[in-house]
Symmetry: C2
Subunit: 245 residues, 2 copies
C-alpha cells in the first residue's frame, strides 16, 4: 500500500459538497467511484476541507491509500481521464504513509468573491455572491484587521457544530476591490464550520453600516453565533490552497 496525495480543483455548482452522503452527488463519491472504476479497488478519500454544497476549490488536497501500480505522479492523468470535467486533478504525488490532508495542514486559504455589477450576473451567479447594494468597503477593511490573530471564534461558527476548541489564528484577512468584484482573501491555521461565510456576512453588515467595524471585537468576545451576521451564500467561496509548511 502507498499513500497518494493529490491537489484538486472543482466547480462545486453541481455537487452537494465534498463529503459522501446518501441520495446526493458529492465530490468524494465521484472520486471514490472513479478510483474503483479505474483499478477495481475501493479507496477512502480524506480531504483537507469538507467544502459545502456549491462551494468551489482551486487547491483542495486529498489523500488515499492504494496497492495499485499506477506511479504516484500518473494518478493525475488516470483520474482526469475518468472524472467529470468539473473536477480536475492538478497534480499527484506519493505522500508519507501517515500524511493526513486535514490534520497536517499548517494553514488554509479561502477566497470569497462578491460580484458588484448588475451586468455580468448570468456569468457569475454560480461563481460569486452577486450583490449590488451600497457597501462601505473601507469600513469592511477596518473590520478585517480586527479579525486578525488568535481568538475564540465561536460567534463565527455554525451553531450546533461541536469542536474541541473554537480558538483559531487568522493570519491574513484582506478585502480588496478588484474590477467588478470585492474579494476577501483569508488565511488561518484552521476554520470552524461556516466560519468564512459567517465572517463575510458580518463584514457585509459593517459595509451596510448596521454597526461600526469596531463592533467586530464585541462580536468575537460575545462567543455567541447570534451576534454575528448571516451566513453568506456558498457560491462565492473557494478553498484556494492548503499549506503544509
Amino acid at each position: 500500500m502507498k499513500r497518494i496525495k493529490a491537489i484538486l480543483e472543482y466547480d462545486g455548482s453541481a455537487y452537494h459538497g465534498f463529503q459522501i452522503q446518501k441520495n446526493a452527488v458529492t465530490i468524494q463519491e465521484k472520486l471514490e467511484t472513479s478510483i474503483e472504476n479505474l483499478i477495481g479497488e475501493k479507496a477512502s478519500i480524506i480531504a483537507a476541507g469538507r467544502t459545502d454544497a456549491g462551494v468551489h476549490a482551486a487547491g483542495q488536497v486529498i489523500a488515499f491509500d492504494t496497492s495499485s501500480s499506477i506511479p504516484p505522479d500518473k494518478w493525475k492523468f488516470a483520474l482526469n481521464s475518468i472524472l467529470p470535467p468539473d473536477i480536475r486533478v492538478v497534480s499527484s504525488c506519493k505522500a508519507p504513509a501517515n500524511f493526513h490532508p486535514r490534520f497536517d495542514a499548517v494553514d488554509k486559504r479561502y477566497i470569497y468573491l462578491i460580484h458588484r455589477k448588475n451586468s455580468g450576473k448570468v456569468f457569475y451567479s454560480r461563481y460569486a455572491y452577486c450583490d449590488t447594494e451600497a457597501l462601505e468597503v473601507k469600513l469592511m477593511q477596518q473590520a478585517c484587521r480586527l479579525l486578525l490573530g488568535r481568538h475564540n471564534f465561536k460567534s463565527f461558527c455554525a451553531s450546533g457544530s461541536s469542536v474541541k476548541t473554537y480558538d483559531r489564528n487568522i493570519k491574513e484577512c484582506k478585502l480588496e476591490e478588484k474590477g467588478p468584484f470585492i474579494r476577501l482573501d483569508i488565511t488561518a491555521d484552521g476554520f470552524l464550520y461556516n466560519m468564512v461565510r459567517i465572517i463575510v456576512g458580518t463584514l457585509l453588515e459593517v459595509g451596510r453600516l448596521t454597526y461600526g467595524p469596531e463592533h467586530i471585537t464585541d462580536i468575537i468576545l460575545a462567543q455567541d453565533r447570534t451576534q454575528a451576521g448571516q451566513t453568506a451564500p456558498p457560491q462565492g467561496l473557494y478553498l484556494y490552497s492548503v499549506n503544509y509548511g
Copy 2:
C-alpha cells in the same frame, strides 16, 4: 402596437444558439415563451446577432412588437421575473416602429477569450477556449492589424452560407494578454457566418508559427475558406455590444 427594444445578456452554455429550432432549446424560444406566458400574446423576436450554440452575449439587442400596456422600460423587470437566470434583460425601451436590430446596426463588437492556464479550467471551460499550447502573441497581434479595413472576407465565412456580399469593414481588431487570458476584441460593420471564430482559428495558426502574420493578406485575397484556420470553439465567443450610431 408598439416596438420594444431590449438589451440582453446570456450564458449560452445551455442553449442551442439564439434562433428558434425544432427539438432544441434556444434563447429565442425562451424569450417568446416568456412573453406569451406574461401577456397571453405571441411575439416574434428579431435579434441583432443570431449567436450559435454555446456562444454568449453581454449586449445582444432584440426587438418585438406588442399591444401590451406594460410600459417599455418595465419590460426589463417583467421578463426577468419569468426568464431563466442564465438569460437577463439589462434594459428595455420603446423603439421606432421601423427599428430593426440587425439591419440598423452600424457596427457590432465581439470578444473572444482563450484561457491559457492549466489551472482554473473547471471554471472557464464553458466561458473560454482553454488552450495552453505555446503561442507567439506578438505575431498574432501583427496579423490582427492586417485584418483591419474593408475586405472581401469570404475566406473567413463558413462554407455553404450565402450572402449578397462578403465585403465587411473591420474597424477594430485588438489582441491582448489579460491575466490568464488572451482576449480578442473585434468590431466590424457586420460579420459573416462564423467569421470571428474562423479569424481566431487563423490567428492561432499564426501563433503556432504554421505561417507568418503576413500570410493573412494571402488568405484574404484567396477568397477561399480552406485557406483560413479552423473554426475556433463557440464557448470563447461573446456578442459584446451593438452600436446603432
